[in-house]
Amino acid sequence: MKDHRNPRRRFLQAAGGLALTASPLSAPFVIAQPAPLKVGLMLPYTGTFAALGNAITNAFKLYVAEKGGKLGGRSIEYVVLDDESEPSKAVDNAGRLVNRDKVDVLVGTVHSGVQMGMVKVSRESGVLSIIPNAGADAATGGLCAPNIFRTSFSNWQTIYALGKVMVERGHKSAAWISWKYAAGEEMFKGFKEGYEKAGGRIVKELWLPFPNVEFQALITEIAAAKPDATACFFAGGGAVKFVKDYDAAGLKARIPLYGNGFLTDGTLQAQGASAQGIYTTLHYADSLDIPKDREFRLNYAKTYKLQPDVYAVQGYDAAQLLDVGLRAVKGDIKAKGQLVAAMENVTIDSPRGRWKVSKAHNPVQDSYLRQVVGEQNKYVAVAWKALEDPARGCKMTA
């Protein structure tokens, strides 16, 4: 006997039923306990940035565990979503977390294109949002908002200092290569600004679509152009492959490779000998002489049997920043004004060093020069002290 009911209605009912069972109505009834704070983690758990998503999640949870499982007196309930680094699904995914799962805080993400979708949803809904990685300049620039904070960097900030470093080391001409998406293009702009200001000249610009890793033809082009050095931006799986391919093509010795730290953070074990000696700039390094860093690295390694990287530090600080805000309002997430004010005025005691929140809600931090030695990005010097993103177009800095 076939089912004659309208399947569409049947599905809608089933979907509605599922939504109800997933809602807080089914939460266990406990007396006199504040409801858990819903933290939405929208990060990549698949694809070239999966390791980054995992590192951020691990470190965030580590901080919460260090504080006894509570932030600002409230226990934390996680709603985890894999954004697959897909900008086309970003608005849908963020919308689902905010409108259906009703998260109190939105934490994410890694990919700058996806971030722009999240920023759109954050601005429309007013949900407190903390960005633990994506450096899209606009998030604390033209599209800055009181409820959006970042504990990582702006794309510009990670690579601006590299130009000066390269010129000081005698490389007056450079080739650039990166993925052609929002982050890649912003990295290029930041690099170009810093490099040309220091007297350098970009002789070749090479792009390939994200997340393509077929570098062969373009590496051949770099060799043909014969620049003094190559500057690039790659991260995650792509960074691993590029460094190896660059070395296999014999270019590493003749045309030194530079980049911002994402090229060598979290990737050194896979890159092996190919990465040795590469200089990068970033707001974190593996051998910082900071007590908080030593403590953090010990705890992280003990808990996860892995070495932490810059992504983990950013995730850790995201939890820290949230904690600061929540403690100031005694866990009442609805006291938005007070919450935001507390978060704006804090100095974060981070494994990377102490940093303050800029008016546009981005970290003001030192940019370190690091070199790959063994399986570490060893600290060499401070490439730029207290580097602050210019926050072009942000109305909050007015």
């Binding site: 694809g47 890793v213 062969q216 060799a223 043909a224 093509a249 014999g250």
Partner: protein
């Protein structure tokens, strides 16, 4: 462009093209002989790459892993044909498209369950892990040359198989007239199973060979799939010779496109396909 650089880019293009040939040849056989549009063909490429990754780790030797991987792929092909594919022969192309699209999802998630979602690298076998200098700045990875050599060897083997063996004769006959072959008393069921398994194995082998240079990552089958279809259509459905010519053409077009016309690089391959389809729909070596 510097002549040496030009030659190196040609080498790059040929290497990419030969790899495409491996994948596309399987697809063109399945399409031409069995008459099935198999959208899941890219998934076999991915399976091959992931097999290379875990088998090399397990067995410690890349070549052993390759052999084991090919055997597993053949088994997978036979099983898949028997379980699912043979119900598609009488069906309209549309249903084949739909069902194999469902298979892509199944394979992708199965991969996620078995191997997880990270990106992985596969080490080039130690004996071949070096580069030969070609200019004063640029070296070429020997492994890429080995890959191309293997692809050429397989192309030769396929030529011998199709032109000089009984099986090949049946394949050629089946491509021209399926019904006639059936009425000649040949066990068409077994023939189809063998051909399908061959197609799967070719795609998986391509994935295994490419794994050291392309990395192993989720969704790696998608790009290969669509380009393979382009190769098959341009070369002519059912023609292995056509697949070789078309694959080389596309490998070169793609490589030089990236370098000379980066703005239009992505479109080049499809412009080529559209042009061929509008001028000679059956492809370069296809039958009318």
């Amino acid at each position: 462009m510097d002549p040496v650089i030009f030659l190196i880019q040609v080498l790059n293009g040929v290497q990419y093209g030969l790899l495409l040939f491996l994948v596309a040849s399987g697809l063109t056989l399945i399409f031409g002989i069995l008459g099935i549009i198999n959208l899941a063909h890219g998934s076999f490429y991915m399976v091959g790459a992931y097999l290379a990754f875990s088998l090399t780790e397990r067995m410690g030797n890349f070549w052993l892993a390759l052999a084991a991987g090919v055997l597993l792929a053949v088994a997978l092909g036979m099983a898949l044909e028997w379980l699912v594919m043979r119900f598609l022969y009488p069906r309209d192309h549309l249903y084949q498209v739909l069902l194999t699209y469902g298979l892509i999802l199944v394979f992708e998630e199965a991969r996620s369950l078995i191997w997880g979602d990270d990106v992985h690298g596969v080490q080039v076998p130690a004996a071949l892990d070096f580069s030969i200098p070609l200019t004063d700045t640029l070296s070429y990875q020997v492994w890429r040359l080995v890959m191309s050599a293997v692809c050429l060897a397989i192309a030769a083997a396929m030529y011998w198989l199709i032109q000089r063996t009984r099986l090949g004769m049946m394949i050629r006959a089946g491509a021209v007239n399926r019904e006639m072959v059936q009425s000649l008393g040949i066990d068409i069921g077994l023939l189809y199973r063998v051909v399908f398994a061959l197609g799967v194995a070719l795609a998986a082998l391509a994935g295994m060979l490419a794994a050291p240079v392309s990395s192993v990552f989720p969704g790696m089958g998608n790009q290969v799939l669509i380009i393979s279809f382009v190769v098959v259509v341009i070369g002519g459905i059912g023609s292995v010779k056509g697949a070789l010519v078309a694959a080389l053409l596309i490998g070169l077009a793609d490589t030089f496109g990236k370098v000379l016309l980066p703005q239009l690089a992505g479109m080049v391959v499809y412009l080529l396909m559209a042009a061929v389809l509008l001028w000679r729909p059956q492809g370069i070596f296809g039958r009318t």
